[in-house]
Amino acid sequence: MGDAILRAEALRAFYALDIYGKTKIIQAVNDVDLEIRENEVYGIAGESGCGKSTLLKALAAAIEPPLRLMGGKVVYRVNGAEIDVATLSQEEKRRLRMTYIAYVPQGSMSVLNPVMRIRDTYRDFIESHLDVRQKGEAFALAREHLVELGLPPKILDAYPHQLSGGMRQRVTIALATLLKPRIIIGDEPTTALDVVVQRGVVQLLRDVQSRLKNTIVLVTHDMGVHANIADRIGIMYAGKIVEEASTERIFGAPTHPYTRYLIDSLPRFGDKTPRESVPGSPPSLANPPSGCPFHPRCPHAMEICKREMPGFTRVAPDHRVACWLVGEGSYGKAA
């Protein structure tokens, strides 16, 4: 673990939708501060629709209309120098993509062209990013890379439909890591896969990380996957990070009331006692609640929660929480 390689400062990214001539603003990422360290696996979890995928798009410098950067910045540290992503030209961004930062979006298995053999997808990818002279060179590179990652090189001859969903997902990850990026951003890479294949995908991500000594940012709803691979976890609610800590502390000492619900709702084998989910409905990001966005659903809500968004309080060296209860130092007494 080391210094920040990727930083977000007061980041705000909103969708601006035009509905019957009226503009509707969806505050999907709302004032996020984040420091992702060199060589760590940073997990992000949170409610469905709370803005996780949008945050990843912003971190990957992949903002496109209707999504707009409304404030704050994303900073990369490339070869020791800090770069504000907003100052990069399209061409510079293109060059950084895949060599510095690789982004595997949600549902990305479909990026493999169904009528092309995997080999040809690789060749196109290599030729568009690298200066490859000889014909066989790209193929040799692809082969070598797959072998390094423990994937059978014969899949190069297959069409996507001949591969299982899990193998397609691993091929996608392999492709994204071919140019040895310093940061890999993965959005739900194991969703809808069986647990054996999921384990294979996580195994691959871990292998890649220990080989390249790089950084992984991973979004998933599967808290078991977070527990298995993440070093630190950020919990997101209504466009904001509300808690951040080491994986051990998120599972062992969850502190924000939303995080507590999330962890308490996890079913465990051998235990069928009824589990509760978060009461109430998710907030509208077009019209988020005032103050702490969790206040309409929070059993501990106080007057101040309705008026003012709490800042972060450091409850342990590597554990910060945005909640008035810890701000006052009173949290935890009741529980």
């Binding site: 979890a45 949170g46 409610e47 469905s48 629709g49 059978p152 014969k154 899949i155 297959a158 439909h161 001949q162 591969l163 299982s164 969903g165 899990g166 193998m167 969703t191 809808a192 896969l193 069986d194 647990v195 054996v196 294949v197 999921q198 384990r199 294979g200 996580v202 195994q203 709803h221 599967d222 808290m223 078991g224 996957v225 977070h226 527990a227 298995n228 994986t247 051990e248 599972f251 062992g252 619900y261 999330l262 962890i263 709702s265 996890l266 079913p267 465990r268 084998f269 051998g270 069928k272 009824p274 589990r275 509760e276 989910s277 978060v278 409905s281 998710p282 509208s284």
Partner: protein, 331 residues
């Protein structure tokens, strides 16, 4: 024993590829199971093992290559599709794909009411819609005039369950209804299934990769691997004491929500899907730590092991061995 739905020797073969390189995939390979009234039955297993295909055949969206579906004691026949799926409703994985973004959500409800002639006036229709929405924690006013984009994934999933309930189904087929939502919403959806079972006698075929929620909410479970059911029994039997080597691997691979108990060791996955589909004998033989000679030659039949059904040669001696061996060689 009362059976609401019975699947009997169901097989589905897909043909892929061009005329020159034709590949046959046995997506579902001679499977049988049943669901009782007021029972939640899980279908789990490998990605691509044939779960959705099975569900689509039960719902009548796809035709079986062979085998039968028996619903309420009546066999599905060529001309009986119309009544057949009555009493069965489906919900799917992606709530956003279920609803067209340009149509209001309530229109789907009114359409179902019309199709099944469930009300004689608009007022009656609204009352019925409201009653079903209240079962999932919403009201008619919550969705009147709104478009799908105005709801979260979890809300939309609950809305699609409410719509499925309009016809008072006896069986809900839920194909990965929780895989796109967060842990808390998963709980609210499976808790809803539980309530439907306990208070209204509804059965659910719950297709999922999330074995922890399956354990929490289901009565029985079938584990599929490459088109076959390899193990079936109560969730206690199958998930707490798995017997088939594939189920054991599956169980050991469930990521624990506990960073102190991370996965140990590495696992091997199959390379190309078709390799295992074309294999003779047991399809898990290529990866099974207990593989024997017979496994590569003979397809293992189902053995009864402590009340669970297990399709694995390891359990041959444990049952009436002679009979079983003869039976299996005949396959």
């Amino acid at each position: 024993m009362e059976k609401l739905l019975e699947v009997e020797n169901l097989t589905k073969i897909f043909t892929l590829g061009s005329v020159l390189s034709r590949v046959k995939i046995t997506a579902v390979d001679n499977i049988s199971f049943f669901i009782r009234p007021a029972e939640i039955f899980a279908l789990a297993g490998e990605s691509g093992c044939g779960k959705s295909t099975t569900a689509r055949i039960i719902m009548g969206f796809e035709r079986a290559t062979s085998g039968a579906i028996i619903h309420n004691g009546r066999r599905e026949g060529k001309n009986e599709k119309v009544w057949f799926t009555e009493g069965i409703q489906a919900i799917f994985q992606d709530p956003f794909a279920t609803f067209n973004p340009l149509r209001t959500v309530e229109r789907y409800f009114f359409e179902t009411i019309q199709n099944y002639r469930l009300a004689t006036s608009k007022q009656e229709a609204i009352e019925r819609i409201d009653a079903k929405l209240r079962l999932v924690g919403l009201t008619y006013d919550d969705l009147a005039g709104k478009y799908p984009s105005e709801f979260s994934g979890g809300q939309l999933q609950r809305i699609s369950i409410a719509r499925a309930l309009l016809t008072d189904p006896k069986l809900i087929i839920a194909d990965e209804p929780v895989s796109m939502v967060d842990a808390s919403l998963r709980m609210s959806i499976v808790n809803l299934f539980k309530r439907l079972r306990d208070d209204f006698g509804v059965s659910v075929l719950y297709i999922t990769h999330d074995l922890a929620t399956a354990y929490y909410v289901c009565d029985r479970i079938a584990i599929m691997f490459r088109g076959k059911i390899v193990e079936m029994g109560t969730v206690e039997q199958v998930l707490m004491a798995p017997k088939h080597p594939y189920t054991q691997l599956l169980r050991a691979s469930i990521p624990e929500a506990d960073p102190a108990r991370r996965w140990q060791g590495v696992i091997r996955l199959s390379d190309i899907e078709q390799d295992e589909y074309l294999r003779q004998g047991c399809r898990f033989a290529g990866r099974c730590p207990h593989v024997m000679d017979v496994c590569r030659r003979v397809t293992p039949p189902q053995f009864d092991v402590d009340g669970a059904q297990v399709a694995c040669h390891l359990y041959a001696e444990m049952s009436r061995s002679d009979e079983v061996l003869i039976a299996s060689q005949g396959q």
